[in-house]
Amino acid sequence: MSGAPSGPVPPDPVLSVRDLRIGVGRGNELLHGVSFDILPGETYGLVGESGSGKSITGLSVMGLLKRPLQVTGGSVVFRGQDVLTLGRRARRKLRGDRMAMVFQEPMTALNPLATVGRQIAEMFVIHRGMDWSQARRKAVEALESVRVPAPEERARSYPHQLSGGMRQRVMIAIALACRPDLLIADEPTTALDVTVQAGVLELIAELCNAEGTAVLLVSHDLGVIANMCRRVGVMDRGRLVEEQDTRALFENPLHPYTRGLLAARPRLGSRMPAGRGRLTELDEVVTGEERGREAPTLTTPRGLRLEAGA
């Protein structure tokens, strides 16, 4: 039968996570069944506090969970294949090639004893079968694409000779070298200077748009999420509690936790006393039943007693 389909067919998601559970040992569950989809070329954000489980979600997609953490249930379908059912070798082949990850600490994420150029070139040697001289040339090109000045010189430098922002650009170059279908960025700018953050984020957005790479952006920073993502998932203590288009989320948060999270943002013009400890505003807005919290920690000398409430 001929005839065009009645409407636009939604593309198959690049990543489809269903009911993912992650636990430690027996009976200790960290992720209680998380489900979300990422469409091709889309930038999807995962936001939440530390400990909400957003990082381990990303790691489990890549297959980089460290013992004793392990996936205890659910499926992770990447380009139509449940990667959790694949053998180690097959999974490894996908890493770096079809799915890539950028981490939070550019300082320590690169091998201190190898030049930056070599670490990028390695991608081409392993995944594209090039020889080293070819790969090195491609590495210089990669440095150019992430806007590192004087790429040929830089390729011969060591990681400790580069600034944090440049190191992160190198990480991005490595991650996108083989033009993967999915890039997972775990707090890519948290460890960077504020002045550098915008540039790196822009770079990610531009490059991924150009290649149609989907991005899973994990962050606790609402500003980053707001700028980069089309859709957002909110995580709280191992559960995905809300998922909406970014704009809609900010304008009309549905879940109490999301509301609390948004309310805890420092607002322009408000006079908030500087203090240590957790987000106290969150406490006022979200009740204890809806979430628990730990006491703040302070350093006191031994033998000195603090009055409660002092």
Binding site: A114, M171, A175
Partner: protein, 311 residues
């Protein structure tokens, strides 16, 4: 790089001076000197004149600071003094003993490295396994073993019982004589190297950049080969160097046990005969060895690790 080496060599001098000072002071308060120990052995009944003459001959009648200054002055001219016992220059007594000690130290270290480092490596790649536990138990045992007892046992088994290897003596150029003492001396460093290598590999395997390498899709063997090994080497190098540096001191007992004509046995002999100049000279040589090895380790570090600035 040359300036680096030069600077480190200059830094050795104050330490060396302090050591000389300490040793000198310690031995100046010796209640019995060489002379009086001759007397007490009952060889001659010396009268006061002969005693005074001997004291003068050896310069022992001068006050302490003068003696110290004379000694230091001599050191600056590479003159270590005269042996009380043989009346020949101390250096002549020490010099033929140097090479045997160095040989023994290097052989022991070679054994320790060749066995210990791979063991530690393999143990770390399978942490918690039977191999790992077994290796680490063996390492702790190796560190707890009195090496002279172990040497004695080796002697018993291999030399006396099986007759395979000679139990004492030294023959330049022959390998048979060095095997037992080298193994006995090398057990303890081997155990330490196994443990340090294992800890180093575990540290590196848990490092962020290894996680990045995995994220890049590297296979484990390739990862270990290209990213882990060099980083571990940097960590292990310190231990290796320290061990070589201190082996000269630890070799004392082994040398005595196996009648190995090295610096260690010289030290023991000259201590029992109270031949102070030789004792001082030997200690200086041992300390110098330690300092030089340390400096070489630093140089090697600077060569391997690009993070170290070599100015």
């Amino acid at each position: 790089m040359l300036r680096f080496i030069l600077r480190r060599m200059l830094q050795m001098i104050p330490t060396l001076l302090a050591v000389v000072l300490i040793i000198f002071v310690i031995f100046s308060v010796v209640p019995g000197s060489f002379i009086t120990s001759l007397m007490s052995e009952g060889r001659n009944v010396m009268n006061a004149d002969v005693l005074a003459h001997l004291n003068e001959q050896f310069g022992l009648d001068k006050p302490l600071p003068v003696r110290l200054w004379d000694y230091l002055w001599g050191l600056a001219h590479f003159d270590l003094g005269i042996s009380y016992r043989t009346r020949s220059p101390v250096w002549d007594v020490i010099e033929p003993r140097l090479w045997p000690s160095v040989k023994l130290a290097l052989a022991a270290m070679g054994f320790a490295a060749v066995v210990g480092i791979p063991l530690g490596f393999l143990a770390a790649l399978k942490p918690g396994s039977l191999f790992d536990t077994g290796t680490m138990m063996m390492a702790v045992s190796g560190l707890s073993l009195p090496e002279f007892w172990f040497g004695l046992l080796l002697m018993y088994v291999f030399a006396l019982h099986l007759g395979l290897l000679p139990s004492f003596g030294y023959q330049a150029g022959s390998i048979r004589y060095i095997i037992l003492p080298a193994v006995a001396l090398g057990v303890s460093p081997m155990a330490l190297l196994a443990r340090t290598t294992r800890a180093g590999v575990l540290d590196v395997m848990n490092a962020d950049f290894v996680r990045t390498a995995r994220a890049k899709g590297l296979s484990e063997p390739r990862l270990v080969r290209t990213h882990v090994t060099r980083n571990v080497l940097v960590l292990v190098l310190t231990t290796l160097g320290l061990q070589v540096g201190s082996l000269m001191g630890q070799a004392i007992v082994i040398e005595k046990l196996f009648s190995w004509p090295g610096i260690g046995s010289l030290l023991v002999d000259s201590v029992s005969t109270r031949d102070i100049p030789v004792v001082q000279g030997t200690v200086i040589v041992i300390v110098l060895w330690f300092l030089v090895i340390n400096m070489l380790v630093d140089v090697a570090y600077a060569a391997i690790d690009p993070r170290i600035k070599v100015t």
